[in-house]
Each structure stands twice: as structure tokens, then as C-alpha cells.
């Protein structure tokens, strides 16, 4: 059993530690079409669990119109390299 003073200290430290999802919120936007958790939706490819390098390469190619797509080029051009990197890392770590 922890002494009360330790518990109090833990409670006080709660706000600083539990700030919420330690993942980029932008990564959750993909799920709007790629299915909940970006696990895929019908004909739309799953993204969760794919290698990060593959996701970064795909987004980079979409952005440069080097990979054919319907809307991904328009989307990829809206994010910086750093954002794509963070989103890809997050998706790669899922599942």
C-alpha cells in the first residue's frame, strides 16, 4: 500500500503526464476513407502496419504526380515532408 503522500504526488503529476494521444492527429484523417484505424475499406488499401518507408515513398510519388491516383496527389501536396514522415511512422506502428 502506497502512503497517502505518494498517492497525492501521483495525482498532482497526472495533468502534466496524461496530455492525450501521443500520436499525430493528422494520421487519423487517413481513416476517413481508408477505414477505421486505416485498416482498409473495401477497395481502399489498408495503411496500418505497412512499412514506413513504403508509405513515405507512396506519398512522395503521389505528390510529384509520379504515381497515378484519383485524389491522393491533391492530398499529398497538402503535407510537409516532416508531417508525412510522422504520419507514416504512426501508421507503420499500428497493429
Amino acid at each position: 500500500m502506497l502512503p497517502a503522500v505518494v498517492i497525492a504526488a501521483l495525482m498532482v503529476s497526472l495533468p502534466a503526464l496524461a496530455q492525450g494521444p501521443d500520436r499525430p492527429l493528422a494520421a487519423l484523417s487517413c481513416g476517413g476513407c481508408h477505414g477505421v484505424g486505416s485498416a482498409g475499406q473495401g477497395p481502399i488499401a489498408p495503411l496500418a502496419g505497412r512499412p514506413k518507408a513504403e508509405l513515405v515513398a507512396a506519398m512522395t510519388a503521389f505528390r510529384r504526380d509520379e504515381r497515378p491516383g484519383t485524389i491522393m496527389g491533391r492530398i499529398a501536396r497538402g503535407y510537409t515532408d516532416a508531417e508525412i514522415d510522422a504520419i507514416a511512422a504512426d501508421l507503420a506502428a499500428r497493429r
Binding site: 496524461a18 481513416g31 476517413g32 473495401g42
Partner: protein
């Protein structure tokens, strides 16, 4: 997501539970409105903050989506395919109360329900959608909507079902009148998707019929793409009259089904769909959150209402140009709003580097879809669209692109409704 860190703290909180006071009790996040913004907010809060207590207030036990309502009008979807219940929301650990919020006290941090109950909160997420401005078009009130449906706030689905029945009952050769409001309004491409979907039905079932679209505006979302499709798929069927050619409807005679323009021209039609001017839903206005135009101004990072701290307003009720009033934006912004609300309640900073994402697909014919994409960020004064990104589908004769976009539209609908209402 549960990290080892939050799990550890959860255990500590459990041990301490009997001794703690309100200040250390679970954070109470109250969500008003179980639609696109509210149901998304509730889901994200449960998924990401297992230690936060989430309560959702929504008067309806069944939610009928506006999106895909136009396919019900086309006859290619049934109402029950776009109707959802709250069982999975409850199963996720959200306390769902089916009642109407009738008042907000931002100082006492309390919401009054029509049923009499009062609920305290630490942070409030408000996503109540829109209200129709009855009377903004002379003669167009709730009773008139029983004759000339708006089908723009689906409610129990009755409005959409009524418009569909009227289209089915119309004789071949009839004119369907559609009155379209000025900006801003819910779903900028929605009226034009509706024109397209009604045309697709008429082409099959009543090919001598016409659509007369009477618009208060001179231009509209995805205009070139829509008009290309109308010429290709429904030649001669659709007449679109812009505001500067006397398209603005200012008065209706519901019994006679007459739509009257600004300069007094009277159009008598067989079926009339009147989409009236709109404002934020009543609860937002009553709580004093809206500006003179009837919409709620918010901080572009936290979505906190400028008029009241602690109340984060998302979805169609806020004013956030150039972002559209769309279900996708309501969903996308809900996460930043919830994360900001919880961070602020805990004395922390809201998530930095926010971005908001939108794709609005429109069906314009069988296997024919088009889209507009937008990526937005907080700016020094409001919201800013990210340069050199987003935009509409390419124009031209591109059957593969159109076919794929129609398929992807269906996947979007399934994904977002799964997120809101799925297990």
C-alpha cells in the same frame, strides 16, 4: 490508445479513488449532439483518453445521415441504409442520454436538459448542427415544409422520404423546382449533387421531366465538373438559374407550389425542394454563442467559442471559412477540439501544428463521382487553406477517374459511419 504510462496512472487513480475530491475525479467531457461532429468526438475521446468520462446528449435514438440522402432521392439507396443507432457508442463506454439540451450555463459549467436534469461538465463539446431560418423565405415555415420539403436536416428521415414520394408520384413531364440558398450553408456541393441524383431518377423513370434550379448565388462548388456531367448525362434536363439572372427565391406559396423570385417571377412547379437559409442550431444561439450572422466564432486551434470559454464548438454550427460545412470537417476537427479541451482542462497546451482535412465526394450519375479536397490549418486570423494542395477532380472525359471516385465515395461513407456508429 492505452499506453503503459496511462495504464500505470489509471491504477494509481484507482487506488486513490475513495479519497479524491472533485478536482481529481475523472474529467467530465460532455458532448451535445450525436451527429457527425459529436459522435466522432465521443469516439475519439473514448479511444484516446480511457480515463475521461464521456457523456453524449442526443434527442434521437436513430440518426439519419444527410450524406447519401441524395441517393435515397435517386432511388438507389433506402433510408434504413443511412440510419444508425447508438448501441455501439454505448458499448464503447460513452454514456448516451437521449434528451434535448435546452440551456447551457458556461459559468456554472452546467447543461440543462429538456427532461429537467442538469449535468455538470469540465469541458463541453457542442456539435448541434444547423437550424433552418423559418420565414427567411416568405411563406416557408415548418408547415410549408410538409408540402415543399427541404430534406436538409434529416431528423427522422421523414423529409427525405417525403421528397422521394413526391418525385415518385409526379407525372412524366413535370418540373422539379429546387431553391438553393446563399452562402454559407450546410454542404456546399450538396444541392448540386441533389440536382444530379434527381436527374438520374428522372432520366430512368420520367425522361420528359425537367429540373429548374433557382439559386441565390452566381457560382457554386465543383461547378465546372457538375455542369460537364449534366451536359453529358442529362442533356436538356437541368436549367440552373443564378442569382444575377433572378434565381433567388424570396417567397413561396406552399399550397400552389409556387416559387417566387426577387423580381417577382412566379414559377409553378410539380415538386418543390426548398433549401432555406440557415444558422447554427438553436442551442448555440440561445446560449449566446453565435455572432450577428447566426454562426459561432471559434479559436482555430482549440475550437473554443470566442463568446464563452470551456465550450468547444465543432461542425456546421461554427463559422470557419474557407473550410466547408461538411461531415468530414466535423469529423476531422472533432479530434483537435477534444484533444485541446482535455489538454486545457489539465493545464496543458493544445496539440500544436493542427491540420484539418476534408474530402467531399458527390455522386452525379451511376458510377460517376467527383470530389473536392481541402487541407486547412489555423492561421493568424482564422483558418487558411494549404497553398498548392487540394482542389477538385480534373475536368475532361475521364471515365476511369469518375468510376473510381464513385467507388471511393462509398468507401468514405462506410469508413466515417463505422467510425461514428460502428463497433
Amino acid at each position: 490508445m492505452i499506453t503503459r504510462r496511462t495504464l500505470g496512472l489509471g491504477a494509481a487513480a484507482l487506488i486513490a479513488a475513495p479519497a479524491i475530491s472533485r478536482a481529481q475525479a475523472p474529467l467530465r467531457l460532455l458532448v451535445i449532439g450525436g451527429g457527425f461532429g459529436g459522435a466522432s468526438a465521443a469516439r475519439f475521446a473514448r479511444d484516446s483518453y480511457p480515463d475521461v468520462q464521456v457523456t453524449l446528449i442526443e434527442p434521437r435514438t436513430r440518426f439519419v445521415t444527410c450524406p447519401y440522402g441524395n441517393l435515397v432521392l435517386a432511388g438507389t439507396k433506402q433510408l434504413d441504409a443511412i440510419t444508425f443507432g447508438y448501441d455501439a457508442v454505448r458499448a464503447r463506454g460513452v454514456t448516451v442520454i437521449h434528451d434535448l439540451a435546452s440551456g447551457i450555463d458556461p459559468v456554472a459549467k452546467s447543461v440543462r436538459l429538456a427532461g429537467g436534469q442538469a449535468l455538470g461538465y469540465d469541458r463541453l463539446i457542442l456539435s448541434p448542427g444547423i437550424a433552418l431560418r423559418w420565414g427567411a423565405i416568405e411563406g416557408y415555415d415548418e408547415a410549408a415544409a410538409g408540402l415543399l420539403p427541404h430534406a436538409w436536416v434529416p431528423g427522422d428521415g421523414g423529409q427525405t422520404a417525403l421528397l422521394r414520394r413526391q418525385l415518385e408520384a409526379m407525372e412524366d413531364g413535370g418540373v422539379v423546382g429546387i431553391a438553393i440558398p446563399p452562402n454559407p450553408f450546410r454542404c456546399p456541393p450538396g444541392p448540386y449533387e441533389r440536382i444530379s441524383m434527381i436527374a438520374s431518377y428522372l432520366k430512368k423513370a420520367k425522361p420528359r421531366s425537367k429540373i429548374l434550379a433557382l439559386d441565390a448565388k452566381e457560382a457554386f462548388s465543383k461547378q465546372g465538373l457538375f455542369q460537364d456531367a449534366w451536359n453529358a448525362l442529362y442533356p436538356g434536363m437541368i436549367e440552373w438559374v443564378p442569382g444575377n439572372r433572378d434565381g433567388k427565391i424570396v417567397k413561396v406559396d406552399a399550397r400552389e407550389r409556387v416559387l417566387e423570385t426577387e423580381f417577382g417571377e412566379k414559377h409553378r412547379v410539380a415538386v418543390a425542394n426548398v433549401i432555406p437559409p440557415q444558422s447554427a442550431a438553436r442551442i448555440a444561439i440561445d446560449a449566446g454563442l453565435a455572432n450577428a450572422s447566426g454562426w459561432v466564432e471559434v479559436d482555430p486551434v482549440t475550437f473554443e467559442a470566442k463568446a464563452a470559454p470551456g465550450i468547444h464548438v465543432i461542425g456546421d454550427a461554427n463559422t470557419a471559412p474557407p473550410m466547408p460545412k461538411s461531415g468530414f470537417i466535423a469529423n476531422s476537427t472533432s479530434r483537435q477540439a477534444v484533444a485541446s479541451a482535455i489538454a486545457l482542462a489539465r493545464g496543458a497546451a493544445p496539440p500544436a501544428d493542427a491540420s484539418y482535412f476534408n474530402t467531399c465526394y458527390s455522386h452525379v450519375g451511376d458510377e460517376y463521382g467527383i470530389s473536392v479536397v481541402g487541407i486547412f490549418r489555423p492561421g493568424p486570423a482564422g483558418f487558411v487553406e494549404t497553398p498548392n494542395s487540394g482542389g477538385v477532380s480534373p475536368r475532361g472525359n475521364l471515365p476511369d477517374q469518375r468510376r473510381l471516385e464513385a467507388i471511393y465515395a462509398d468507401a468514405w461513407y462506410k469508413s466515417i459511419t463505422d467510425y461514428m456508429f460502428g463497433a
